[in-house]
Subunit: 217 residues, 2 copies
């Protein structure tokens, strides 16, 4: 599981994969991956709190000083992970160019669920920390801000095409969409992912969009 996840993360990272990378850069990159891999394994096995930098360095077979060359703190391993994960989500969302707003949300939620299931237990490690660690909280707010603009664009495009009523406040609807998203995600994590996140969201969005649709549609 870990191997699949990490290789996919590297694919979505911004490191160019052409031959312009020097051997030194490749070596750095591999070592960084090994340290992160060790950290993930320990976080999943014994929890984030209980894991020490000494343990991560030992499992990655590097000195403690080497760990600090790559990550200033243990928290940074998670911040880095969340940054990569969310860059993937934002990228996915930005690449959805067709369909009405409701269909775009359905596509996005499907791809998010696929990613979250592939990431496995690391999602359960990350989730509670997003509400605790200041850097993760700040990152989460940044993501919400960026995605809000995108969602508002989807709704406004549908308003322009008269596919949605034009008498509702787009910003309010976006807040509502985030409410549904965040509460449903929480329930999904708490229910050990025993139902389909995307399907539950789609059902709720169907109910919401019924109210947003123009009368003649």
């Amino acid at each position: 599981m870990t191997a699949v996840r990490l290789s996919l993360m590297l694919e979505s990272s911004k490191i160019p994969k052409d031959s312009s990378l020097s051997r030194r850069e490749i070596r750095r990159d591999k070592r960084r991956t090994r340290i992160r891999d060790a950290a993930f394994e320990l976080f999943e096995r014994q929890g984030f709190e209980a894991t020490t930098i000494d343990q991560i360095a030992a499992l990655a077979d590097v000195g403690k000083g080497t760990f600090f060359n790559y990550f200033p703190t243990k928290q940074n391993v998670l911040t880095d992970y969340y940054a990569r994960l969310s860059a993937g989500f934002i990228n996915n969302a930005e690449n959805i160019k067709t369909g009405n707003a409701q269909k775009r949300f359905a596509k996005l939620f499907h791809s998010i669920e696929t990613t979250l299931r592939r990431e496995g237990q690391m999602v359960d490690v990350l989730y509670p920390e997003v509400f605790k660690q200041p850097k993760l909280i700040a990152l989460d707010e940044d993501i919400e801000e960026r995605v809000s603009v995108l969602y508002a664009g989807w709704l406004d495009a549908d308003k322009d095409k008269k596919k949605l009523r034009d008498d509702f406040d787009t910003a309010l609807a976006v807040r509502l969409i985030f409410d549904i998203w965040s509460a449903t995600l929480r329930n999904w994590i708490e229910a050990d992912k025993s139902f389909s996140l995307a399907e539950e969201l789609n059902r709720k969005f169907e109910l919401l969009f019924t109210g947003l649709r123009a009368k003649n549609f």
Copy 2:
């Protein structure tokens, strides 16, 4: 602030206030209030984690053993508080007997905001613990279950009267209502209660109910 809050809590508690209380019971009740009052003062001042039972007992001017006669653990002070607070909310909700569903929600949210503002900082102490402490989590689930039944009844009554469409899944709509409630409450707490909780909820509910209303209304 504390005095107002506690007197109101006693009003809503189940302790009968008639003369049938023995002097011993009255004394017990007063001491319990004094211990809880001391605990609240310390929780608000220095946080729940940092407060020790020794400090609570000292401030309440009782022995540590006396504390344990009233509360088996420090956590129980919060569980007891949340149980009383939520009994008040459920009681309020059950007493809303008139108006359509949307108006009932508006009434309920108004009374909840009034209570939460009156309770002041204790709400900020309680809120994060509801996601951490197993007993508070269990209590929260109980409350959600009880209130769900009530909300479903409000929606179904409106369906029967053709004030709402009858082709949506009531249980799904109730889940959506909880999503909006819990996410908005979180935002409100995080924003230091700088906006009106009830107004923000009412605006979101107006958008939701537009979709739930029958076409001929």
